[in-house]
C-alpha cells in the first residue's frame, strides 16, 4: 500500500455531518478520516489547513488534536507537528484482548438470557449479511457485521456495553480496516457469525463464548500475518 505523507484536507467530512461543540465535530471528522485510512499513518495534520477547511479558529482544532493524541491516533511532536500514528501491533493485541474478553462474556450471557425478540433480530441480521455477501456489497456488509455485534451487546441488557467495547477496541477497529475485505473473508465471517447465532439460539453459553473467541481470533491471525508481509504499516 503506497502511503503519501501529504493529506488532502478536502477529504475531511463537513462539520455539519456531526453533532456537538465545534471541537467535538472537528474531532469526529478527523477521527473518521483516520479510521477510514483517508488520513493514513504518517501523514501530517497541519492546523492552518484544517482551520481553513473547517472555517474555525485554532482552538477547536487544537482541542480535537489533543483528544486524538490521548487516544493514540495522533502523535504530536515539537519538530514535526501532528502526524497520524502508525499502527502499533502491541496496541492492537491489547485492544483485541480486551474486546474479545467483553464480547465473549456478552455472547455467553445472551445465550442464557436472550428473548424471542432478540433471536428474531439476530436471525434477520444473518439474512441481511447473506444477501449483502451474495451481492458483493462490501461496505454495507462491514456495517451489517458491526450491527450483528451491537445486537448482541444490546441483548445483554447492559446499556453501556456497546460503547465500552468500541472504546477498548479502537486499535483493533483501526487495524481491521487494513485488511482487504475479500469475498473469502466475508464468507468466513458469515460462517463464524452463524456459529455464534446457533449457540445463542440453543442457549449454549459455553459454545457461544467459544464461537465468539474463534471469530475474533481470526482478525488477530490476519493482522499478525499482515505485520509480517507489510511491516512498514506498523511501528514496533
Amino acid at each position: 500500500m503506497a502511503m503519501s505523507t501529504e493529506f488532502d484536507v478536502k477529504k475531511l467530512a463537513d462539520l455539519s455531518d456531526f453533532e456537538g461543540s465545534l471541537a467535538a465535530r472537528v474531532y469526529q471528522s478527523l477521527k473518521q478520516a483516520i479510521l477510514s485510512l483517508d488520513a493514513p499513518p504518517g501523514v501530517a495534520l497541519r492546523k492552518p489547513e484544517m482551520c481553513t477547511r473547517f472555517e474555525v479558529s485554532r482552538s477547536p482544532v487544537a482541542e480535537a488534536i489533543a483528544r486524538l493524541s490521548a487516544e493514540g491516533l495522533v502523535e504530536v511532536t515539537p519538530q514535526s507537528g501532528s502526524r497520524v500514528c502508525y499502527l502499533s501491533l502491541s496496541d492492537f493485541h491489547e485492544a483485541a484482548f480486551m474486546r474479545s474478553a467483553l464480547e465473549q462474556a456478552a455472547a455467553e450471557r445472551v445465550a442464557e438470557v436472550r428473548s424471542e425478540a432478540d433471536l428474531g433480530a439476530l436471525a434477520r441480521s444473518m439474512h441481511r449479511q447473506k444477501l449483502l455477501a451474495a451481492d458483493g456489497a462490501r461496505e454495507e456488509f462491514y456495517l451489517a457485521d458491526e450491527a450483528f455485534h451491537e445486537l448482541i451487546h444490546a441483548a445483554t441488557g447492559y446499556a453501556r456495553l456497546s460503547a465500552q467495547t468500541e472504546i477498548v477496541g479502537l486499535h483493533m477497529t483501526r487495524a481491521r480496516r487494513l485488511l482487504l475485505p475479500g469475498q473469502r473473508r466475508i464468507e468466513d465471517t458469515i460462517t463464524e457469525h452463524q456459529a455464534i447465532f446457533d449457540a445463542i439460539k440453543a442457549q449454549d453459553g459455553a459454545a457461544a463464548r467459544a464461537a465468539m473467541a474463534l471469530h475474533l481470533n481470526q482478525v488477530t491471525k490476519l493482522i499478525d500475518a499482515l505485520s509480517e508481509s507489510q511491516p512498514g504499516l506498523f511501528k514496533p
Binding site: H93, E94, F97, M98, A101, T156, A159, R160
Partner: protein, 240 residues
Amino acid sequence: MRVKPVAELSRVDELPDLRSSTGSLAQRIHHVLHTAILDLTFPPGTPLRKAELAHRFGVSRAPVTEAIAILAAEGLVEAMPQVTARVTPLSMAALREETFLRCAIEGAVVERLAKTRTDAQLARLGRNLRLQELLVEDGDTRGFFEADEEFHTMLQEFTGLDRLSGFAAQVTLQLHRARQLLLPEARRPTETIVEHGEVLEGIRRQDAPAAVKAMRFHLGQLVPRLKPLEQTYPHYFREG
C-alpha cells in the same frame, strides 16, 4: 444566613490540603476530590458547591470548575440544579453492569495468565496472599481491603497489557465505592483468601478452565452481598 446542619459542614473540612499532591491546580483539586469520592469521605449524593470548594482550597472557581468537569467525564459526579454537581449515586443496575465487565475482564486475565505466568509472578502473588492472611489475623480491615485490591491489580498487570488495569479501574468505580460500605464483614476476608488461593492454584497448575471457574465463583460472591445495601443505605442509591 442559613445554618448548615453539622453533617453537611464536616465533609469539605475533611478534605486534605492541595499541598499533598502534584500537577496543575485543577489536577490537584481533581486528585483530592477523586480520592474523597472513592473512599466515601464524599458519599454518593453529596452536593459539590463550587464556591465552598474554592474557599476551602483558597483558589478561584476556575480550577474547581475544571476539576469537576473531569469528575463528570469519569462518571463520578453529575450536574444538578441548585448546586454545581453531586457525587453520583449508586444504582444496583450500574453495580450489576460493572460486575459483568469486571468478570469478563478478570476471567480473560486469569485464562491468559494460566498460560503465560512466570515463577516470579507466582512468587509475588503468593507473598500477597500470605500478607492477606497476616492482615486478617491482625484484624486490619483497611489493610486487607488494599491487599485484596493489589492481588487483582497484579493479576491484570501480569498480562503485560499496559492499559488493562486502568480500564478495569475505570469501569468499576461504583463497585469500589459500594464495597467500602460492606466493610467490615466478619467472615468474608477468610473466604476471600480461600477463593484467591483457588485462583492462584489454577494459574500455578496452568489449568485455565480451573482458574477461570475460581475467578467467576469469587466475583460471583459480590452481587448478593451488595443487594442489601439498597435497604441499609437507601439515601446513597439513585431515586426512582
